[in-house]
Assembly symmetry: C2
Homo-oligomer: 194 residues x 2
């Protein structure tokens, strides 16, 4: 147990270092040697945990994506009313993007560059199912516009990534008021207008 514990801890430090360094410098400008140093480990040790650099970043992506969706759906029950359920998930996602900024920035970079394997990307998307189910239910009930999931995601969820990035750059502060406004815009863009 002690051994396994130690290993997991080391692995976590490597993943954490990868996130921070890739956020600041990008994937290819992040040398394995720096990751090792930040994780207090020898460069060679990384290869005991990961096959190579690509594998390290793929696994990091999958892990962060899983953490993200776990957080998003933690308190959601799939029999909730549509709008309440959506609001809950939306605020959880917003929360994650603002509080777990490091993780969210990492995902944004992965999702907008060719740095992640196609397979790992697919793997990461799976966890979003509960939201897609909610939308399907909402469409059936005539509450949510009958649009492609991609369109719904583009308008209801993705703007949060943009706002997080501008916030991280210091151009803009996303406070409580803004958050409520953003939610209204998100809901306004996907709900059926009466």
């Amino acid at each position: 147990m002690a051994k396994l514990q130690k290993s997991i801890d080391k692995r976590n430090r490597l993943i954490k270092a990868t996130i921070q360094l890739v956020n600041n410098n990008g994937f290819h400008a992040t040398p394995m040697s720096k990751i090792a140093k930040m994780a207090n480990v020898s460069p060679a040790t990384i290869y005991l945990y990961f096959k190579n650099k690509q594998d390290l970043v793929n696994q990091t992506y999958i892990e962060v994506k899983a953490k993200y969706t776990a957080y998003a759906f933690e308190t959601y029950k799939n029999d909730m009313p549509i709008e309440a359920g959506f609001k809950l998930i939306w605020y959880r996602i917003a929360d994650f993007k603002l509080k777990e900024c490091e993780n969210a920035m990492f995902l944004a970079q992965c999702d907008n560059t060719p740095m992640i394997d196609e397979a790992s990307r697919k793997e990461g998307i799976k966890n979003l199912q509960p939201l897609l189910d909610l939308w399907a239910r909402g469409k059936k009930e005539g509450i949510i516009k009958p649009l492609s999931d991609y369109l719904l995601y583009a308008y209801a969820i993705n703007p949060l990534s943009f706002l997080m990035i501008t916030q991280k750059r210091g151009d803009f502060q996303l406070d409580e008021t803004h958050l409520e406004e953003a939610y209204q815009s998100a809901w306004g863009s996907i709900k059926v207008c009466k």
Copy 2:
């Protein structure tokens, strides 16, 4: 004239090659030698046109951003009615993102990674002024929600980037119908609801 013409042509080829290679491989996985080869030029020649690799990518960014905004506002007049003006600009932007996919993908990658200098990024944003002016006018007239420009951009414009990327990945096809739906979502998220 012949000489200058030739130079501009070479510079254009270098910028085009940079866009294509960075789109496919990312900034740091794109060697100068490959850029040179694709532009039919010696590696050393690049340094006659650009100070170094960072300068090359910065200038490419600024140039593409300028092309993007020029296209967006080409037919817009600043005395147009709010909704008509917005609709015009929105469709021009959509058009650009779908037709000039290479250019748009490049901008998306630049805007979501640390690959561009802060100064060049600022430079690129300036050209967006006509849209901000339109929004200011719309807010004054009570037609557009009194939100921060960043929020308006996040909901009205940025989703197009996400849709373009998913389209490029082949996950989703953004046809005429979808485009109309997307416009309705965009306008729905920023217009004052009556």
